[in-house]
């Protein structure tokens, strides 16, 4: 890292804030305790801008931009929580709820689920689009972990942590559109995967109950994320 970092000053929700030139709006917002919803982004993993929940308004720009990949610029004026943005966010989350079978009451992550919490925070009391009710698989072939596709939201955190942090690239994605799903190896059962190191990082970064440890019952699956910033920090120091 260069010894002299250029600092940009900007306004987020009317507050004067500053960030280094390579930092994103989401980074700077987080440092300043400004909440921006997101489900695919995770500190320590690469950003994909896929969930579209962190879209923000920037003064002078017609387009909404994802805070997770938009770097700060001098004089930027960012709005993170307008009625319009929150309306879009509610719709996007509602669409997620309709996509697969998210039954909070019987989920291992009930009470610890990022999607469930976000729905509450955004004031969703019901889903006004019809549910899809697809038939999804549960793969419990791994000796310690389970993937329940009913609860997967395709955030791809598992792919990224497996590829970028663990270096195994066991997870990937197959199919397109509404039929896309995460797979282990070449769509083989997880238990027989030759690349999986059983490190469990994918389980810990999963925002919902799609990935969980065996033996956990309803509401018992608490994810432990401390390793990620620690590993990232150690790597940066080594570089």
């Amino acid at each position: 890292m260069s010894p002299v970092a250029t600092v940009k000053t900007l306004k987020i929700d009317g507050r004067d804030v500053s960030g280094r030139q390579e930092e994103t709006i989401l980074d700077v917002a987080r440092q300043n305790g400004i909440f921006i919803p997101r489900l695919c982004e995770m500190d320590g993993l690469s950003d994909v801008g896929a969930c579209r929940l962190c879209l923000v308004e920037i003064k002078g720009q017609n387009k909404l931009l994802p805070a997770c990949v938009t770097v700060v610029e001098e004089g930027m004026e960012v709005t993170t929580g307008s009625e319009r943005l929150n309306n879009y966010r509610r719709m996007i989350l509602e669409l997620l709820f309709t996509e697969r079978n998210h039954v909070c009451s019987v989920c291992v992550s009930n009470g610890h689920c990022e999607m469930q919490m976000l729905a509450q925070r955004l004031g969703i009391t019901h889903v006004h689009f019809p549910y899809r009710y697809p038939k999804e698989e549960v793969d419990a072939s791994h000796e310690r972990f389970v993937i329940d596709h009913n609860r997967c939201i395709l955030c791809t955190r598992c792919l990224r942590v497996c590829d970028e942090i663990e270096g195994a690239h066991t997870w990937d994605i197959m199919g397109r559109g509404i039929d896309a799903k995460v797979i282990t190896d070449l769509n083989e059962s997880w238990g027989t995967s030759e690349t999986c190191t059983s490190c469990g990082k994918c389980v810990q970064v999963c925002p919902t109950g799609a990935l969980f440890e065996k033996g956990r019952s309803v509401a018992e699956m608490m994810k432990r994320r401390q390793f990620l910033p620690y590993l990232t920090m150690m790597r940066e120091e080594n570089e």
Partner: protein
């Protein structure tokens, strides 16, 4: 001024929401002072009265009987409340949806039955193809998610409605709470 009329209905659910309703304990007495419970699994009325102020609906709409009921209730109710996750999201009853009704009938009436297995064609109402939230069939005015919603939340919602206010439950409860 005449007392307000409230009703509760039990569609496809586990009755947990009604248990939670009873958990209001001594507050039920206060409620009874403000309104009459004119129809409910908890009272003895056989007919749903024509002019109810507030109806709490527990459960998803899963059968033809549920559908008939909810349409009738909607017509006779000023404020319809979806009470609990089954009414709001279809929740556990909706978990059969990916598999279809035949799988449900087979498991319930054929596979696990030793004496005279077969689907009854009387008394038990036919299932709808999927079990769905109430608001996909009729207009719902207030949603109280939760499995079940706490007695506090039910009390809060009902008293607000009886006072003519719109309860805001967004930060008090959520799916699955």
């Amino acid at each position: 001024m005449s007392k307000k009329k409230i009703a509760t209905v039990w569609l496809d659910g586990c009755s947990g929401c009604h248990m939670s309703f009873l958990d209001m304990d001594e507050r039920l007495l206060a409620l009874a002072g403000a309104a009459d419970l004119v129809y409910s699994p908890l009272v003895d009325a056989k007919e749903f009265p024509p002019d109810v102020d507030v109806t709490l609906v527990e459960g998803a709409v899963s059968s033809e009987e549920d559908l008939r009921k909810i349409n009738m209730i909607r017509e006779r109710t000023k404020i319809l409340v979806s009470l609990g996750d089954c009414a709001v999201t279809a929740n556990v009853p909706g978990m059969r949806n990916p598999f279809g009704t035949k799988a449900v009938y087979d498991r319930a009436y054929r596979e696990n039955v030793t004496f005279d297995p077969g689907v009854p064609d009387q008394v038990v109402p036919a299932l709808l193809p999927t079990s769905r939230p109430v608001h996909e069939f009729v207009k719902v005015d207030i949603y109280i998610p939760g499995c079940p919603p706490s007695a506090d939340n039910i009390y809060y919602a009902v008293t607000e409605l009886l006072e003519g206010r719109t309860p805001d439950l967004t930060l008090k409860t959520r799916f699955g709470s």
